[in-house]
Amino acid sequence: MNIMKKQENDTLVVALEGRLDTTTAPELDRELKASTNGVKTLTFDFAKLEYISSAGLRVLLSTQKIMNKQGEMIIKNVNDTILEVFDITGFSSIMNIQ
C-alpha cells in the first residue's frame, strides 16, 4: 500500500493506494501517529484505495478518536465496496464521509 502525505500548516491530507489490511494497517498507524500532532483537519483520500479490512477500520477509529479532540477528520472518494463496509459497521454515522 502506498501512503502519500501532504501537510500544509494545520491541515494534513493522506492519500492511500492499494489495500489497507492486516499487513499494511500497522504502517498507516505509525505514519499517522507520527504526523497528527497539531493537525486540525485530517483528510483521507480513498480514491485509489481498493480494499479495507477490520484492521484498517481499527486504525481509522483510533485516529477518529484523536481527531475528535483536536479538530476534524474527513474521508473522501470512498468507492462502493468500501462504503458498504462503512455502512455495515456503522462507521458511516460516526465519520465524516464525503
Binding site: 499487513t23 477490520s54 477500520l57 465496496t81
Partner: protein
Amino acid sequence: MIETILPSKAEALEDAMTFLEGALASVSCPMKTMLRISMCFEEIFVNVARYAYADRKEEGTIKIRIDANPSEAEITIIDSGLPFNPLANEDPNITLSAEERGIGGLGILMVKKTMDETSYEYLNGQNVFRMKKRLV
C-alpha cells in the same frame, strides 16, 4: 473442491489470499464480490492464526477448503487449535459514538453481514468454520 494447508501465522495471509483469489477467479467471480469475500476470509484467517494455537509453542496449521462454481462459493477454514466459535460473541453496538465504540468485533460483524451463510462446528478436535456466498 480444492484444499491447501498453511502455517497458522499472520504472515501466511498473503499465500492464503492468493489461493482464495485464484479459486474465485477460476470461476469468473466478479471483482466486487471477490473483494467482499477476501475481506471476510482475512478476518477469519487472521483470527485463527493469532489465537488458535496460542496455548502451545509449536506452530499449528490451517486448512482451507474451497468449493466454488460460477454461482456460489463455499470456503471452509479448519484448525486443530483451541475450541473457538467466532460467531458466538455479541455483535458490537454500531449505534454508539466514536468515543463510546470499542474496537473489537468489527471483523466478525462484517463477515456475518457480507456472507450469505456462516456456520461453525467443533468436530473431532477441529474448529470448522464455513462461509458461503452467491457469486451472481
